[in-house]
Symmetry: D2
Subunit: 297 residues, 4 copies
């Protein structure tokens, strides 16, 4: 099976590497060329355009930063749709809106190709370690066909029916849940510190007992160590909160926690933390409580 892969950011690089390791042939394209060489060294074929990366491929994967880029990479003159052969499948792994998935899926159908929504949960090191979780939706037969490809990049796959937008909504919901977890951790850590109790002890107990799960443990640690670089940039996470809110507004679903984490990130951006890990939203708790932002200054 020949795979095209467009978008070699921190996530895409690990995903493409795992495809190569699983024995797939992979044609790669990335806007900035420096990401290409290491994968070529592992056996990937460099393509000059998204269209060429898609040419001849059975599956073309895109891992891009937002709706606009996905649209351009898919529909542009040198985009993947222009290169895809009949019945080829566009596996769309980006965190984007359900609306663009629905629209692109329709355009694919009209062209005799397929669009499978397939966003992933996990940070770059999990992508590299094949530890991602995938949520997927779209045409059932197409999903069936791409399963080996998804398996080569993840530790588990969850399907959400044939609405191409469904998996996007699940992904946005998950990111919202993580942001809520961060805000909760931030409030508790601040309450502890202002009451003379070591936040490490409080979060240590709670994240090793009733909240013993990856998100609470990992972000509990990041929040306490204030280890906000590198990471998943707040500007990108904020985009996801805005996408989640757009889904909520469109479906008439009031979500007060979502409003708060969105506002928290907005304030983080206003204060200059766009490039910090999104868990830096927890700093708002400290600031509101009159604590110095840094725990270690």
């Amino acid at each position: 099976m020949l795979i095209g892969f467009v978008g070699l950011g921190a996530m895409g690089e690990g995903m493409a590497s795992n495809l190569l390791a699983a024995g797939f042939s992979v044609q790669i394209y990335n806007r900035s060329a420096d990401k290409v060489a290491p994968l070529v060294a592992k056996g990937a074929i460099a393509s000059a355009t998204p269209k060429l990366a898609a040419t001849g491929a059975d599956v073309i994967i895109t891992m891009l930063s937002n709706d606009a880029v996905l649209e351009e990479i898919t529909l542009g003159e040198e985009g993947v749709l222009a290169g895809m052969k009949k019945d080829a499948i566009h596996l769309s792994a980006s965190t984007v809106s359900p609306d663009i998935s629905r629209r692109l899926a329709q355009l694919h159908v009209e062209k005799g190709t397929h669009y499978v929504t397939s966003p992933v949960f996990g940070r770059p090191e999990m992508a590299a370690a094949k530890k991602l979780w995938i949520c997927t939706s779209g045409d059932a037969q197409a999903i069936e066909k791409v399963r080996p490809v998804q398996e080569a990049m993840s530790q588990g796959i969850f399907a959400f029916g044939d609405d191409p937008g469904a998996a996007n909504i699940v992904k946005l919901s998950g990111n919202f849940m993580i942001a809520s977890c961060m805000e909760t951790l931030g409030e508790v850590a601040t309450l502890a510190e202002k009451n003379g109790i070591a936040p490490e002890a409080v979060l240590g107990m709670l994240t090793s007992t009733i909240f013993a799960c990856p998100m609470y443990q990992r972000y509990g640690e990041i929040v306490l160590k204030q280890d906000f670089e590198p990471g998943f940039k707040m500007a990108l996470a904020f985009k996801d909160m805005n996408l989640a809110q757009a889904v909520a507004l469109k479906s008439a679903t009031p979500m007060p926690f979502l409003s708060i984490v969105q506002q928290r990130m907005l304030s983080g951006i206003a204060e200059g933390r766009s490039d910090k890990d999104w868990s830096a939203l927890s700093l708002a708790s400290r600031r509101d409580a009159g604590l110095p932002l840094s725990r270690f200054a």
Copy 2:
């Protein structure tokens, strides 16, 4: 070691049973007598008053519903303090304010006895199964002495220094975290339902992967099955949110998520759900989104 135990509610009953099972002698008192017989059948000695339950005991445990009851049971004419011998330890397991712990601890010191704060995490079935988690604080030597008693009731103990109020704050923080988890689950489940995605599938994925921990799994299930009886009554949980807020106000710690879950429970109470499990706060999401409260009607 002779132990007194006052307060045989759903939690206290399991805790006292485990003490008997561990071989301790236990003198018990409960306001309503019907809870007493089953424990007497297991070897407990019935006492006519809290004072008598405390008389001669090395450790007197109280597991009561709020500050006012704890104060009355401790300081009343027939209260435990009146019965305690010198150097005996009052192990206070109730979810109460840090202020009352600090005040009672001081009164104990003046009388030559000790007060160890020792609230627990876990539902009645966990209490019965010796699966509670204990957070404790107060005089270090007293804590050392009661450790075997705490061990006989729990699967783990976490200590938070010598401020008698500290363990109360940890307990209130944990309950706030659980309520935040519930609200998050409720918002996500509603968003899914309003977008035509099975909430079972969405929460099923997220609580078996990045949120694979007891609270998300258990409450994810309760929220979806709307299995709100019996449980931890919303009226009691609301009391805990109010106690948490009192700590936050006193320590000048703004907590927006706490404000929201407090308001959610307040609305649940206004709508007549005081006696439902506190996870019924998730119904507010459905209501705000125009869904029928029941998923199964």
Copy 3:
């Protein structure tokens, strides 16, 4: 001076009538023809398209429901821009985003015409009575020229500089302030009712003393009488809150009150009140407090 007028809704009708009353010649266009005859009876000239309404006019006024309609009416093949003569002025009175004003202003400049932003405050009866307040921004000379036209429709005009988006932001800010006023009134009325105090007495005092201004008085009365039809439809007001939030997000300005009124209206829409007056957002307070929605049932 010859004026074109496009958009004869509840507001536009009154505004156009006042222009006729002031002696201006007015060419009118409206999508549904039934609004046209009464104005023709007052001396207006009916035009078959927006382009024709603009043809020959010195000033062409648009009063439309949202960005998309304004864009179509301005830029469409039969749109006003196609009909405008050199140096004519497009007076844009709709409540729309600052972005579309900035974009249209630029397109007008390129065509040798002008765009003056000129949204209005006031309900239909105020439009009819020439009691509107106008906020305006854009090219200073163009504003100077249209002043007599603005004066013929309002009781006062406030200018906000040359950014064509500025007056839109002022208008959206004002609508946010009104929504905040409504939410405040709703919370106070509910608190009074739940405490056995007549809300009429409480709001009666406060809106005749320290809050003696049109918004509090008018909406205090509507909220208490639950007189929600006809009015400014919640669906339209919700659009304005979303526009306001878009401005807030883009400029990194967290606005917690705005988040709440936006969520309140979203819930009102979810519950089927899209067509009620926007002050029906106050019903959320009653609902959350367990009161029947109707005060008079």
Copy 4:
């Protein structure tokens, strides 16, 4: 008519002066003596204790800072209740909880005296100028008798029935409305500033048209000039928000705006602004948006 007056703070001083100006005999008491001399110069009689100030008086007015002080001044050994003659009326002008009014009213009845709740709206300069607004509740006959006294201190009186707590709830509601007004003004001013529009122009328009009332005008100006000293201290206003919230919690009335202004003030206190005017809560908007707190630095 002989009047006793206890509590000569910024408000009490002006109120007592107006009583003297109206021809009443006034016996005064204040904790710190320096407030006494200026009033004695105007004809007041200094009393050594609250009890003595109440002795022989037909009406004894208290204007104190909180529940605890009111309780001590009323019920203490040297308190006013100990000095009051039969049928004398305690006119309680402080901003306190409805609960303490109900409790004190009951104790007065038992002693053959009366308690009339009579909190006031207005700042010190309005107290001095006899421009206060009074809300009152309690025994109807007693209210009738004290009316000339209330009239001598105010420009208007509004009665709220015989629940002694009712007027307190109205007063707390009014203060909540003012705080909401401040938050709204702060959000709008920040939005304007971050979008390059002069906040003075925006608030200038809105507070001279649809929000042309004392609160918006006065606080609009303070917020923009950041003229936060002296004023009504945030620590006191925060107390009022907490009292309002206590009423809301007790009556099961969720109030999201109240939660927000309470949190805003809590944050202001955390950041060291307890002694600034309560309108300094508007600084939170600036801070969250990444603006320097001072507009003039």
